[in-house]
Amino acid sequence: MNKKRDRLEIIYNFLKIIQDNHNSIKPTPLLRKSNLSSQSFNEYSEELLSKEFIREITDKKGRKYITLTDRGFSYLQKYNTILGFIDEFEL
């Protein structure tokens, strides 16, 4: 399978997990559900944070949660469209 295609799919799954958890999930359950190694998980988390697909929020008790940004929602909405475009032009 195309490596870059896997990357897009991994990001999609990562964001989808957050969305499916009412847009708020702690890092540890997210790691478990994402089916990624710790290293990969940290790499993707950092990338998605830096690109503002997700953000970290801390509640009053100091617990960290990860949520989607508008950009993250946009990616989820457009994912199938993007895949279709890539297939259409064999990119």
Binding site: K4, K78, I86, E88, L91
Partner: protein, 225 residues
């Protein structure tokens, strides 16, 4: 002396319209895919966009060359506007060569980037593009440029066709790419004063060329919401 059609108002207007429409669709493709690329940073999309950006710029610069040729003809009728024609033509030939060669490379690379390293591609494409640009500048010959780009086109076509999966949809896309490149070569050939296309044939191939860009844009627009 027979006045080439470009000097006539109809020929000039047709060239202006043709260039405007092609450039418009090239830039539309480039800008409409911006969001998709910004979201994914997917390399294939980047190279696809670059191809049409470079094509748009190449068509614009090609039009400048035609204007240069027009004013060159006009000066023979006493309408010398005094610009450095002898500098503009070779300079823009250099720019057109580089832009169009890079466009060809990017179009090819957009479908084959997984097979070739980016560094190798950048080195090879820029080296070839600069060589072709220098050849065009030195010889001031659109005919030579079109022959050299034809060789590149044939190589590119072989690479594009030999991709992993073939389907009707991708075959149509590849055919459209092939037409874009062929029409580009014809557009360059027309710049050579020895290649005088009858006006009617020129209009026909311009209309078909526009149709090809519209078809590509339509395929892009289908996925842009």
């Amino acid at each position: 002396m027979a006045i080439p059609y470009l000097f006539g108002p109809v020929g000039f207007i047709s060239e202006v319209l043709y260039t405007m429409i092609v450039v418009l669709f090239c830039f539309l493709i480039y800008f409409k895919t911006k969001e998709m690329y910004d979201l994914t940073k997917y390399k294939g999309i980047q190279y696809f966009r670059n191809a049409f950006l470079f094509f748009g710029l190449a068509y614009l610069c090609r039009f400048v060359i035609q204007i240069t040729q027009l004013t060159n003809i006009a000066s023979g009728f006493g309408f010398d506007i005094g610009h450095p024609r002898r500098m503009v033509f070779p300079l823009f030939m250099l720019v057109v060569s580089y832009l169009s060669t890079m466009a060809l490379f990017y179009l090819t690379y957009s479908t084959s980037w997984k097979r070739f390293k980016y560094t190798s591609f950048m080195i090879l494409s820029n080296a070839v593009a600069i060589c072709l640009a220098l050849v065009s500048f030195i010889f001031r010959s659109p005919f030579i440029l079109s022959i050299l780009q034809l060789l590149l086109l044939l190589t590119a076509f072989i690479i594009i066709v030999k991709q992993h999966k073939q389907s009707k949809k991708t075959a149509i896309t590849k055919f459209l790419y092939f037409l874009i490149l062929i029409f580009w070569l014809l557009n360059i050939l027309v710049l050579d004063s020895r290649w005088f296309f009858p006006f009617e044939y020129k209009i026909i191939f311009q209309v078909i060329s526009i149709g090809v860009f519209i078809a590509i844009y339509y395929k892009v627009k289908k996925w842009i919401k």
